[in-house]
Amino acid sequence: MARKITTRRKTLNTLFAWGIGLLIFFPILWTILTSFKTEAQAIADPPVFLFFDWTLENYAIVQERSDYMRFLWNSVILAGGSTVIGIAIGVPAAWSMAFVPSKRTKDILMWMLSTKMLPAVGVLYPIYLLFIKLGLLDTRLGLTIVLMLINLPIIIWMLYTYFKEIPGEILEAARMDGAGLKEEILYILTPMAIPGIASTLLLNIILAWNEAFWTLNLTAAKAAPLTAFIASYSSPEGLFYAKLSAASTMAIAPILILGWFSQKQLVRGLTFGAVK
């Protein structure tokens, strides 16, 4: 009897989880479906779900009109570059706070997080003026730095949480065996924290890839990533939903595929230490 209830509950839980999953995924699914419709079908009322004349016309128009590869390349450089630099700064910073804490470590962590509490638009003009002075407007370098800085608090917080789970005694033992600071971080700490670092890396690539405020405001023609590519397909006068959906699908496809392949690592990293 008990077994029966368990199975039923399991089934219900599974169905519930699938329901929630589909609900969350539905906007993306709808975008993908719309990208295969004509503009007239995209706005049809009642909406058509699966039974329409599937067309690749929107993808052809988007390919013809925009240089997708240029936007894609910029996205790869910005997301990859900002994450790698962020991790390079974040690992030593998190190490020091996790293993050599001071009285003020908690305050420093909170202070770092406080930068995320200010709306980005509040510092738009100072940053814009700085970028003009430094000649960084519409450059990949400038945008990489900004994306790295806005994600750095998250990187440090995540790494700090993972590092706290690693027993300090192991590092002490390494030190007694003659390991210097470099060896300690590179050969002892990093291999043990690989799942945590990997999930931090992946999450930050996703965050940087999808970042749309700074990437739209600080770029023009040269450094514009896929967010600008999507924005260029919205129209105030004229129907654009199908073409916009095709552009969005093309923009999210790489990151969706990356997420799909690395989901095990991502989930493992995000739940790392949660049960201890």
Partner: protein
């Protein structure tokens, strides 16, 4: 020997004049409208003629507006040419943020630009942006539904006639609504329509002393009329409908009439997208007999930010894109119906263009809008569906939210007007008026 050197120097100086200016790469910010997309496709013609390359930055309208304002105000120098509207041009021209376009060559024939467009893009007679395409608003109506209702649309109807026709055309059981109008909040959305409409009802935003006028009986009449009409003959959920939402409703045959931008005429008559393409008629925006029609005036224009290092090349581009030759180029490639409308007198004198079904009504609508004298009573501002002051966009968006909430049934017309009056008075006082 000296003679040879002089001859050589002379030859060099002549040669230097003959060599064209160095090829530049121009960065142009624009919106994703059909005419702009077409221009991007034809840019190779400009490159072949001048040697200059063009890089396009296409953005959503609100993002574009924020982006170019931010860049021009900080002298960021990101763009050599900006696509701006009739609202920004006089404000930025006055600030000295735009390069004057008065020195374009005679062959450009600036006098050919429609006077209403030229006036709206100039400050004290100096042209600061060249119109790429211009539009007004007009009535697009279903000829079959009008006939079914036993009515005939005059060329210049009154609001009384339009309201009566809308009620008679409405058939809610079959999802046919007599009239579709903008309800979505925004200074360029419902407030563009309502401000233009209020002109026909004798209302105005400000009196000569910049005192807000939302407490006037004319505004009350405008808003009450609009709300009653939309509640009785408008589509459900109209408070979230903007241009594109109404376009899709009209194309699906759900609107009897739609009053909106003249540029919509080419969409609703396009049989690829519109189910009612062969049943559309056009008429001037309505009036109430007070001498002003409720039609607006707008132009998407090309301007050069002051301080650009590529001013000469940028002027060459504007000269190319807004010339008579460009119109002919579009006509030869894509037909006369796809030529950017509303900018040049000569286009409307062209017998080929006269065959386009909405050409005459577009011109009549543009000509009947007067941005320098938009209202029945005198006003201190320029603009038909906007007030050309920097504070307007912010204020009108808030007022638009109040009016949109009234349409959604969340408050009465009186409440919306009282809030509009209070917030406008407060903002204007803070701005030092």
């Amino acid at each position: 020997m000296a003679f040879h050197i002089r001859a050589l120097l002379g030859a060099c100086s002549v040669a230097a004049l003959c060599v064209p200016a160095a090829a530049e790469t121009l960065t142009i910010a624009t919106v994703n409208n059909g005419d702009m997309i077409r221009m991007q496709g034809l840019t190779k013609d400009f490159t072949e003629k001048t040697g200059h390359d063009v890089e396009w930055v296409t953005l959503e309208e609100n993002v574009l507006r924020q982006r170019v304002t931010q860049d021009i105000a900080t002298k960021g120098g990101q763009f050599d040419i900006m696509t701006i509207g009739m609202y920004e041009t006089p404000i930025w021209g006055k600030q000295g943020w735009l390069v004057s376009l008065d020195d374009l060559p005679e062959s450009y024939d600036a006098d050919d630009i429609l006077p209403a467009m030229r006036g709206g893009l100039s400050v004290d007679g100096t042209l600061y942006a060249a119109p790429f395409y211009g539009e007004s608003s007009m009535i697009m109506y279903r000829t079959d539904l009008m006939e079914k209702a036993g009515l005939e649309m005059p060329d210049a109807p009154t609001w009384e006639f339009v309201a009566d026709a809308a009620r008679k055309m409405t058939d809610k059981d079959n999802e046919i609504y007599g009239i579709c109008l903008r309800g979505k909040a925004g200074w360029g959305e419902n407030m563009a329509f309502l401000t233009a409409t209020s002109n026909a009802f004798g209302a105005r935003w400000f009196d000569e002393d910049w005192k807000p006028q939302f407490d006037s009986p004319e505004w009350k009449e405008t808003l009450t009329f609009y709300l009653d009409l939309m509640n009785e003959a408008g589509p459900p959920g109209a408070s979230t409908n903007g241009f594109n939402e109404n376009l899709s409703l009209f194309q699906q045959g759900k609107c009897g009439m739609w009053i909106d931008a003249t540029v919509a005429a080419s969409f609703v008559t396009n049989p690829d997208d519109s189910t009612v393409a062969d049943k559309v008629g056009f008429a001037l925006a309505p009036d109430t007999g007070l001498g002003k029609r409720g039609n607006w005036l707008w132009a998407w224009a090309l301007g050069i930010p002051a301080g650009t290092k590529k001013e000469a090349a940028a002027k060459q581009f504007i000269e190319w894109a807004t010339s008579k030759e460009y119109l002919e180029l579009v006509a030869s490639e894509e037909g006369w119906a796809n030529v950017p409308p509303g900018t040049r007198t000569s286009l409307y004198e062209n017998p080929e263009y006269a065959k386009v079904p909405f050409a005459k009504m577009t011109l009549d609508s543009i000509n009947s809008a007067d941005p320098t004298n938009p209202t029945v009573k005198p006003v201190p501002y320029i603009g038909v569906q906007f007030v050309a002051i920097p504070e307007f966009a912010g204020i009108a968006t808030q007022v638009g939210q109040e009016f949109s909430a009234a349409l959604a049934g969340q408050q009465s017309a009186d409440e919306a007007l009282a809030k509009a009056q209070a917030l406008t008075a407060e903002e204007m006082e803070a701005a030092g008026y």
